[in-house]
Symmetry: C2
Subunit: 350 residues, 2 copies
DNA sequence: TTGAAAGCGATACCAC
DNA sequence: GTGGTATCGCTTTCAA
């Protein structure tokens, strides 16, 4: 592993290592000139030698000395989920423009792994953390803020004073899902949720119930709660749909993508049609929402906003102090009616 | 940012920094004892002090000194693509078990960004790279291998002697797609591809043509090539389907997911049905393949295998030398007939 | 504008 | 088993 150091460049260019360091860290000003206390000619020579020799800064050494790394870490609970991978992409794009390098990692919903990753990242001297916490991850993250590493929570909240927070208002998300269906003229709107009490889901349930009550439909409010495990779940959902035909249900809210898939499967199995038999509002993104005829209305999280707000909040927390009350950002989910592949939205068929 | 160093631990435990370093780097043997030349009692004391003080190793310092970092980098061309994000997840899981930390990054198909990321990663002293190259990324990656950083190519090949390679046999993928349809009894099988000559696509075209020729269907071979740009593409595909009805086309191979989405849209727009009007073999994964009735046969890349082979090859390249001929791994894509959400495969309806 | 020299926190080497 | 110390490559005073 051949390595070219700052000394090699200095020797070759006939200057001191200090000069080389200055040049290598200089920003180019708007006039194209290097913003550093170095003779422009010298700077040019250094730059050329560095290029010729193939010099690249050893970040480990730089950050060891300076304590800064110009990088942040994003730890999500599952990098393979489209939601998280798109968040990663968006954060990366924004951070890159701001001159930050982003390191991603995935905790796989395992607290031990999260803890290991946090240690690792801090060991890399990252300047801040954006984390989608997994259950049981409180300790690891508290430790991080405890030693002064600015940390932003996304997707899920956990207790703790000093976290920054960029969270989506799931009560509102459930509310707009239900209200949309109610405004379409449906009264018997039901929701199929999971038994496990994940905050984001219970919030969506709350919003749904609120909308129903507000429309005088309190008695028609009905939340089914099924097992998360897939084989049982699939059958349970089919059962719910079969009964729904008798009950006179008009519409369903499916508060996760997986639940929506079970619902579509049930419709298939029972030979039902949307919107003839039931109308849906689903959550998240799926090809099937977009290609269905009509397009299935679905609620999406504002990924670009989450990315942008969390990075800018993190940056402010890294640079200055941010006042307590500005540390929490609440975003609204959005109802999407049109599809990505050109089909018409649901309303057109109503 | 409070920091606890090895010296603090040493002082507090009344031992030398050397001892602390030994203890902190010791692996636990199978008998639960630390595998290091340190008195077990001393080791225990050091461990406890370290924990009490909240010591965590400064990786920057460690890797500066040792030249090792126990980490590798994975750079994909688009972290938000399900294919890549799943590869990332798989590699991460495997690497984690092997005691490696994985840093992910996304080049967004931009050579300049790839080059920056490679520099960055090398600056972090990563021990190896797994890269899905973007077009024009040759220079950056050649530089990496040039300075001795083991580098594995996935997804796309680019010229270069010293790369490791874990690639999917796309000729075979196109071949099995076509052969499946031919065995179903279809003769007029067509493919819709893109005008841009991406290797993976032209290989799939080649495989398709080979299968057609092998079945004596050379004259029915037909590859449509459309613009990549979406508005035009959507219309072009609709046109192809409209004409196909007249031509008597029986089946289509859609060699990318996006192409499949255009195809489904066209079917929608024209009011056509699968498999009544046309049969499909698509590529990649989509909810719509799985929930369609019948399930749409689709060809998937062996993600777990790609991850496993690329990590193990990289590891061997890091540790020993790997002989030239063992540096290239070719994997086969697989035809999937059943769906993830419980619907029946296509054959059941034939 | 330029350069010499002091560390950052760990590991590696050598001596005890 | 244990400890002293040079050193990794860079940034950062401070002085010239």
């Amino acid at each position: 592993m051949k390595k070219v150091t700052i000394r090699d460049v200095a020797r070759e260019a006939g200057v001191s290592v200090t000069l080389v360091s200055f040049v290598m860290n200089a920003k180019v000003g708007k006039d194209g000139r290097l913003d550093c206390p170095v003779n422009p000619d010298t700077a040019q020579r250094v730059l050329q030698v560095a290029k010729r020799l193939g010099y690249r800064r050893n970040n480990a050494a730089a950050s060891l000395r300076s304590g800064r790394s110009h990088s942040i870490a994003v730890i999500v609970s599952d990098i393979a989920s489209p939601f998280f991978s798109e968040i990663c992409r968006s954060i990366e794009t924004i951070a890159y423009q701001a001159g930050y390098t982003v390191i991603f990692a995935s905790s796989e919903e395992k607290p031990a792994k999260l803890s290991h990753l946090v240690d690792m990242m801090i060991g890399f001297n990252v300047e801040g953390l954006i984390v989608a916490p997994c259950l049981g991850g409180e300790a690891a993250l508290s430790k991080a803020v405890g030693i002064g590493v600015p940390t932003i929570l996304i997707d899920r909240d956990i207790p703790g004073e000093d976290f920054g927070r960029v969270l989506v208002d799931n009560v509102d998300a459930g509310y707009i899902a239900a209200r949309y269906l109610i405004r379409q003229g449906f009264g018997k709107v039901e929701m199929i949720s999971y038994k496990e009490g994940v905050t984001s889901l219970t919030d969506r349930e709350t919003g749904y119930a609120k909308a129903m009550e507000g429309a005088g439909l309190k008695d028609d409010t009905m939340v089914h709660r099924i097992e998360y495990e897939s084989i049982a779940a699939k059958k349970e959902v089919i059962g719910i749909f079969r009964d729904a035909l008798k009950r006179g249900t008009e519409a369903f809210i499916l508060p996760t993508k997986k639940m929506a898939m079970y619902a579509f499967n049930a419709m298939n199995v029972l030979g039902l049609n949307m919107p003839k038999d039931f109308s849906f509002v689903c959550f998240d993104e799926s090809d099937i929402y977009d290609l269905n005829k009509p397009v299935v209305p679905h609620i999406v999280q504002p990924i670009a906003e989450i990315a942008e707000k969390s990075f800018s909040l993190l940056r402010r927390m890294i640079e200055d102090k941010v006042s307590e009350e500005d540390r929490t950002v609440s975003l609204k989910a959005k109802l999407v009616l049109g599809g990505r592949f050109g089909a018409e939205p649901m309303e057109a068929s109503f």
